[in-house]
Structure formats: structure tokens, C-alpha cells
Symmetry: C2
Subunit: 368 residues, 2 copies
Amino acid sequence: MEYEEPKFFHVMKYGIEADRDVIDMVSGNPDWEPPTALREALAAYAELPPAEFQYPPSEGILDLREAIAARRGIDVDRIILTNGTGEANYLGMARALERGAGSEALLLDPVYPYYPGKTELLGGEPTLVPTERDGGLDVDAIREAASEETTLVVLNTPNNPTGAVYDIGKIREVVEIAAEVDALVLADEVYDRFDHTGSFESALSLGSDRVIVTSGFSKSMAITGFRVGYAILPDEHVDAAKTRHMLVNVAGSRPAQYAVSHALEATEPAYYAEARERLADRIDAFTEALDTAGAEYARPDGGFYVLARFDGFPGTMENVKRLIDEAGVAGMPGDTFGTARDDWIRFAMVTPRSLEAAERLVDYFSEE
Amino acid sequence: MEYEEPKFFHVMKYGIEADRDVIDMVSGNPDWEPPTALREALAAYAELPPAEFQYPPSEGILDLREAIAARRGIDVDRIILTNGTGEANYLGMARALERGAGSEALLLDPVYPYYPGKTELLGGEPTLVPTERDGGLDVDAIREAASEETTLVVLNTPNNPTGAVYDIGKIREVVEIAAEVDALVLADEVYDRFDHTGSFESALSLGSDRVIVTSGFSKSMAITGFRVGYAILPDEHVDAAKTRHMLVNVAGSRPAQYAVSHALEATEPAYYAEARERLADRIDAFTEALDTAGAEYARPDGGFYVLARFDGFPGTMENVKRLIDEAGVAGMPGDTFGTARDDWIRFAMVTPRSLEAAERLVDYFSEE
């Protein structure tokens, strides 16, 4: 596989180098404060004796695993702390693909581009399956695509880029389909704290031995650079994932795990609520402006992103660059995310200038 | 691949649960202070604005990569910061094995057990090649083992477990053999700051496009838990390794990279010299006691470890447990490290009680 400079970096670089002020709505980096307890714990860690600076257990520090187990209501032995949700997805997908139960991974279109990338790295074959117009699960399409060759179905809820929050009844149907063809279902729930509907339910609640759940603290604690995530695996798949984790990474970074562990214990629900409401407000303001601009969009039920389509202005890389140069707003071309939204543009709401960006878009498209 | 509780943890657990005082000489965790600047930088990081808590570049923060490039005299573009030297080895070995140039990895016996583990994870076939009696490179044995199927030779210098520091002339010969069969040479130099001879020379000095060098700060800064390592690849292999790094881990942990970067800049040579001398003193005291105990050993030229053989007391797991119970000293069974030293025991000098441990061994074996 050749290295392709990810489009994210390409667009961000173009925006930075533009000869004007550009509002960055490209990356999924939170722009708000991490929990106060996280800062405090990291500073406290810096004073610990040298023994605390050495290898944590490969599966991660016990305090944090136990806190996750308690929150999730599961056995702590099922949890492996990983180098961000990215590694958790890698471990889960590897387990599905290495079992000798087929080599096909069903991925939903639009798709987070790391999923097909990881599938190919692991020697599997990604198949894109359409979703509903609003990004919701199309169970019939998944049933139709599933076959003997299918060993994995990857779900991401709340979804990047569509903002869909999958109905738990539909997830159950997908798990049943997976069971019929001996596939595993990996549910990436890293945006679970950013459910704007109140109806999100973790795939873990199904209690199925077909379900791997991944998540992390990158988004919920505004620390994408710390790399603390986790995979929750069915009992029979834990050991294989631990072996791979140890052979690839040995362990995750201990200061980061320590800080997250303390922050998870000390942080009140109000912190998460405030971050979620901040995003909801930005989404409101942004989508209202999209109405004015005459754009098509689906109001996101969760997550950080708004997908929008402007008539006569397909979301190609060329047009995304025009928007940077002529409107001063940077988004992501839709074809980054598979084929289903290739004339749309994804805007990340992780900037305090979301409203200003929306106004620039209104101005730009009303002048056209 | 089934998960096997690594023998390290098995022995450590046995030692901890023993009904007596046990001196732990099992793990390679430094027991001394990290650089003061590392603690200070980590505390300072905890105060930075939220933007500094987000994803670092996938290949690592530029300051640290530039500092490594300057120290090593190479182009910064060849450096990928990794989640410890463990990930660096994984990336380098993966690159060698995925090129379509064969599936065999030549590993030197005694062998660090992660090398065969990684080889098998990556679908390759490990072949153990003997070293000299003192652990030095046996170039003829490598020449004899190399074939069309060979795509990788892994060297570790200073060596774990033998303490050998490889002669650069012999490394050059190995690289020439590798070139003849289209193989790459990976040199893991994570113990390079613990050369007790003054003669260590990095494989990088050969300027060969066949050589991948890996290293990290786990040992040199006494921070095995931070997970900051790096791979230096020949130009033509950088992109493939970056792709794998991104798809597996996205990036390393930023607070750890930040702290190491500042510590690397601010730490005087005296810090490294002091750590090296501390180890050399422990090795002196320990090997002197081994003489008294009538044990065979090779005085290590570098690294943390002493391999010893006691007459009539082969270094099996059973005997290692006896030593824990009856002498109060915990080492590692020789068969952890391949076949060449399976009746030896490895002792790690990373405890201030090294001399006391040696005296216990003298007492134990003189009573026998």
C-alpha cells in the first residue's frame, strides 16, 4: 500500500497557506477545555516516584479499566486500553479478519476513511454498503450484502460524517445477520458523549458475543493527542487481541492513562453536558444559516459534523479549495467518505467561529 | 496465535507472591530518576492551551524529530516517532516482510522474545541463527542461513540478553550479505546509551539503504511507561511505514513526546554517564560474586543484563522458581530467549540491591 497524504492534512495545509483568514472546519479536534481534573492529574503524575514512570500493564492501568467496567456494567477482563480508539478499531478488526471466517468487511457508506484503510492493511476486502438518505442503518442493504465471506461489519454511532445515531433495534438486527454468516460486529462509539437526541444506546447493551465495542477519551475529554482508547471484546476474543496489542505496542502511554483515570473519576456530568450543548448550539446556528443559503443537509443527531450539499457546487476537492479561497471556510470533500456523499461537504463544528463560518457561506452562495 | 502470558509476568508474579523477601532482577525497568527536565516539561505541558492537547502530527512532533535528526546526522524525513521502540520494531519488521521479497526473518539466538512473536504476527517465518559463545555476531552462521527467502535480519546491539556490543565491521558484513539476498537489516539500538566499552557504533553510520535503525527513550531516560521510540528508515521505505503507523495508532501520545523533546534538549551528558556508571558498578559487583559462586558468565559489554550459568542448576522455570523461594532472587529462565542459553539465567541489573542479590546467590550455591 502506498502512503497517501490524507486529505485531511492536504485540506488543512491548503487552508493554512491561503492568502486570507480561513475558518478551519476540517479536523475533529475539540477546541474546548479538557476536564480540570485531567490537567491536575497530569501535573501530579510528573511528581511521582520513578517506578510509576515504568511500563503499565500491557492491557492498561487497572484503575481506569475498572472504572470503565463499572460504567459499562461488564467484566473488567474484557477491556484492553489502547493507543486511542484508532488502535482499538485496529485490534477489533484484526481479530475479526484473522479468525479464518472470511475476509470481507462490510463498511457503511459514507465511511470514515480509516476503516477501509485498516481493512486493506489487514489483508481484508472492504465492501461499501449504502445507508439511508439521513445516514441511518439500512438493515435490508446489510442483509443483502452479507455472505459466507463476510467476517466483519463496522458500525460507527454517533456517526462520522453523517451525524446519525443508530437505532438499537436496527443494530440488533445487524448483529443477528452477522451471527447468521459468522461475522463479528464492531461498534465504534467514540462520539457516545455527543448524542444530541438522548436516544443513543450502546451496542454493548445487546449482550451479544458477536459484538466488539470501541471507544476512547479523545473526544469526550478534548484530548485527541493523549491517545487513550479501549476495546471491549467478547471473552473468546480477548486473548488474541491482547497478544496483538502487546506485540505491536507493548502498552499505552502511562501518564496519559493516569490523567484520564483521575479525570474520569473526578469529572461531573455537567462537564460532558456543557460540551454537548456547546456543539448543539453551534449545529443550530450553522444549520439555520444553511437553510438561508438554500443548502441541503441532515441535522445531525450526534457527533461533531454537519454534511451539506450546495446546488450546483459539488463537494469536490477543487470546490473545497474554492470555498477556502473565496469564502474563507475550510471543510472536507465528500468523496473522502466513500461514494454516497461525494457531492457533499463535511463541516466540523469544533470552532467557536461556526456561526461566522455559516454567515460566510450564506454570503458566498447568495452572491453566486 | 494464542495469547501466552509472557514469562516475564509469570516470574514477576511468582516473585511477588512468594512468602519471603525477593530481589526482582526480572524486568528491564530502570529504577533510577528520569531527567529533571522531563518532570518539569510534563508539568509545564499540563498548563498548555487545549490546542496543544490535540493530535500531534502522525509521524510525531517536529521538535523531537529534528533533535533526533541532528544527533544522528540524517534527514528528518526518515524519522517516525512511535509508541515506544516496540512499535518501531513492528513497523520496520512489517516493512521488510510486506515487500514481497521473501518471508523469512533471521533472528539471532539468544533472541529477545518479541522478535519471533512479531515475525509470526506479521505472517513471516523466524529462523534462529547462532551467535558466538560470548554473544558476538557470527557472520559465517548468518551467511550460511541467508537465502532467497530471507527478507529481514534483526540485530539488537547492545544486546538483550547477552550484553554483546556488535563490532561495526561485522555489522557491515551482515548488511552486505543482506544486500546479496535482497533482505533488510533492522538494528534495534534501544540500549545505545548503555555501552560499557566505548566502542559502540550505530548501524546508521554505514549509510546503507538496507538498514533500519530503531531506538527510543524508555531506557535512556528511565521512562519505559511513556512509550516514545522511533524508527529511522531508508527513504524508499518511509511512506509505507508511515501508512501503517497511521492506520494502527494514528499518532503517539503528545504529552510523552513533549516531555521527552524538552528533556532531550536540556539533559546534560552527565545524566547518561551517571546511569551508565551506576549499571557498570552493579555489573562489577554482581559478576565478582558470580566468580565466587563458581558460575559461568560473559561480562556484558553493554545493556542491563547478566547471563549466568550455575553448574548442575540449569536455568529452567522450575529452577528459577526454586531460586526465588530458596535464595530470594528472581531472574529469567534462559529458554525465554531461544535455545542457545536455555540452561542459563538472565539477571537484570536495574535494582540497587544487585550486590545483595549476588551475595544471596553466593550463599545459596556454596550451601548446595
